[in-house]
């Protein structure tokens, strides 16, 4: 088992979303290759991975829109398509642009409300909640992408569902909007809802998510709490600050450590405990100013995890010019 996974066995009756062993093939491409993870109540789960890793496909499968060749996706223990009033279980935002441009934002929510027998009052409530009350009667075709995202979130909240699932909700939002969105997602979790938020940028979710599902090439390559992930990525590493980088690296490598220059005058060392490093450097007369336990950022974790899994990696400039 990978050090990045602390997944518990899926409970069929569990509240939240339980995705188990999803496999789906589109012609020659394997879109989902054993995707498994869980989304628990009261927690914001970040769903991150490079473009094309299978995030949107997984969300469509959870919503019963796409069929899979293998595996199950359960909402509160039931497949989505067997839910009697699905909007009361899951609120979702897949594509904010999926609107009829000639219909007002309010009317878009109104037909969705009718689907669940919700009163028009509820429509006005969610519109106020997302801050769209003033433009609700304007045609949705004239909305900015940020406004459409807010409308999509309003739609997701119509049924006051215990589970909220949002695909790339930060797309097209201005900085104010992003700050609002983060607070909003946290408040949803604080109300005890299970929140799944996808993004292809770690920076968008790192201050919001408590739990991360990192995906690459159609499967979850990590499914763990944010603190756990950072700890696992930091484990056994020592950050060293020195003006004689080359000398220090030679000495430490000779002693069996793996060494990596990580910046101007900083070196990350693994394979040797900190006290042994201090001794070695002192004996060899290498000057250093700081030795500390390395603390990884989420960005580091993400890059390390997805390094192998990026499907559409840009060619390096050196390769292009040749």
């Amino acid at each position: 088992m990978s050090p990045f996974s602390n997944r518990e066995p899926a409970e069929r009756s569990a509240r939240g979303i339980v995705v188990a062993g999803l496999r789906k093939r589109y012609g020659a491409t394997l879109a989902l290759d054993g995707m498994s993870f869980t989304v628990r109540p009261g927690v914001v789960t970040g769903f991150v991975g490079p473009n094309g890793a299978g995030k949107s496909t997984t969300m469509r499968v959870i919503l019963g829109l796409d069929a899979v060749d293998e595996g199950t996706a359960l909402i509160d223990g039931m497949p989505y398509r067997s839910l009697r009033s699905p909007l009361d279980h899951v609120g979702s935002l897949l594509d904010a642009a999926a609107l009829h441009p000639g219909r007002s934002g309010r009317n878009h929510l109104l037909w969705l409300a009718h689907a669940q027998g919700l009163p028009a009052r509820r429509v006005d409530q969610v519109l106020k909640l997302v801050g769209l009350a003033s433009v609700a009667r304007r045609k949705a075709g004239g909305y900015s992408l940020g406004m459409r995202q807010r409308l999509g979130i309003a739609a997701a909240l119509l049924g006051d569902p215990p589970i909220v699932m949002l695909d790339e909700p930060f797309n097209g939002m201005d900085p104010d909007g992003i700050v609002w969105m983060r607070g909003f997602l946290r408040s949803l979790a604080a109300q005890g809802r299970a929140v799944l938020v996808s993004s292809h940028l770690m920076s968008e979710v790192q201050d919001t998510a408590d739990h991360l599902v990192v995906v690459g090439r159609g499967k979850a390559i990590a499914d763990a709490g944010v603190a756990h992930l950072i700890a696992a990525a930091s484990a056994g590493r020592v950050a060293l600050r020195t003006t004689a980088g080359t000398h220090a690296m030679r000495v430490l490598a000779h002693a069996g450590a793996s060494v990596m220059a990580t910046g101007r005058g900083t070196i990350t060392v693994s394979g040797l405990p900190a006290d042994r490093i201090v001794t070695l450097l002192s004996q060899s007369g290498v000057p250093f100013s700081e030795v500390s336990a390395h603390r990884a950022t989420l960005e580091d974790v993400y890059l390390e995890l997805t390094h192998e899994a990026v499907e559409f990696r840009a060619a390096t400039p050196a390769k292009v010019s040749r």
């Binding site: 699905p86 897949l94 642009a97 219909r103």
Partner: protein
């Protein structure tokens, strides 16, 4: 199901185009019918019997805007991606499609009734001035033609919905629908062999269905009026069934 119909009805009444297309259906039907009845000539006796059919000829044009409306009801959602929102809200896909069909049936019946009665009214105003007897609703065959024409329009709307559910793209769907409607009569017109001609007139959704408008010479028709309308219903049912199965099995 009631909630689903309510959804579809809300969707249709909250955008402007369906209303215009329904008005277009009425305008096109009445205009062509009135135009045809005002230019008609008759060189020999016995034309009066064909006046019902002629008074309702506008249905051949009026079905086009109605078909657009029916196509857009589903393909419009595919082009914007809203179909996913719809199906996430109503995961039972057969219900979602049935709700669209029910809503369309109501709209087509309402617009069809106005269009057909409008055409009849035009005939009442125009035909006597040209020395013809205008069709009367007291006549059983005429009543059948009138009711049948409304049903025909409903069936064309359902056929279009089914085709659009299969094809998904609106421009292609309407091309397929109008091809099905208009190509059979043209082919029957140009094919010389009487056997094939009859067969084409029996199986075409438009020419078979519009035999419901015939009031005279019923024995010489390629297919009897109600059976003809049955053929159109068969096309509509097949298209809806095909569309429903694909909607059920396909990824949205």
């Amino acid at each position: 199901m009631r909630a689903a119909v309510h959804v579809e009805w809300t969707k249709i009444r909250t955008v402007a185009s369906p209303l215009w297309l329904l008005l277009g259906t009425i305008a096109a039907t009445v205009t062509l019918s009135a135009g045809a009845t005002s230019v008609v000539i008759c060189t020999s006796a016995g034309c009066d019997g064909h006046m019902t059919k002629l008074s309702l000829v506008g249905v051949q044009l009026g079905q086009a805007p109605l078909a657009i409306l029916a196509v857009l009801v589903i393909s419009g959602e595919y082009s914007s991606g809203m179909i996913r929102t719809t199906l996430a809200a109503m995961p039972h896909r057969a219900t979602a499609l049935a709700a669209k069909a029910v809503t369309l049936t109501g709209l087509a019946a309402a617009a069809g009734t106005v269009a057909v009665l409008g055409s009849l009214l035009a005939a009442w105003l125009i035909l006597p001035g040209h020395g013809f007897t205008a069709p009367s609703l007291a006549d059983g065959a005429t009543l059948r033609a009138v009711v049948g024409s409304i049903l025909y329009l409903v069936l064309i709307a359902l056929l279009s919905l089914g085709v659009a559910t299969i094809v998904r793209d609106s421009a292609t769907s309407i091309g397929v629908v109008l091809g099905l409607l208009y190509l059979f009569p043209i082919l029957a017109q140009t094919i010389g062999d009487p056997h094939w001609q009859r067969l084409l007139q029996q199986i075409g959704p438009m020419n078979a269905g519009l035999t419901i408008q015939a009031t005279t010479d019923l024995s010489s028709l390629p297919i009897s009026p109600w059976a003809g309308l049955g053929v159109t219903a068969g096309w509509a049912a097949a298209a809806l069934l095909g569309g429903g199965l694909l909607l059920h099995s396909r990824d949205a």
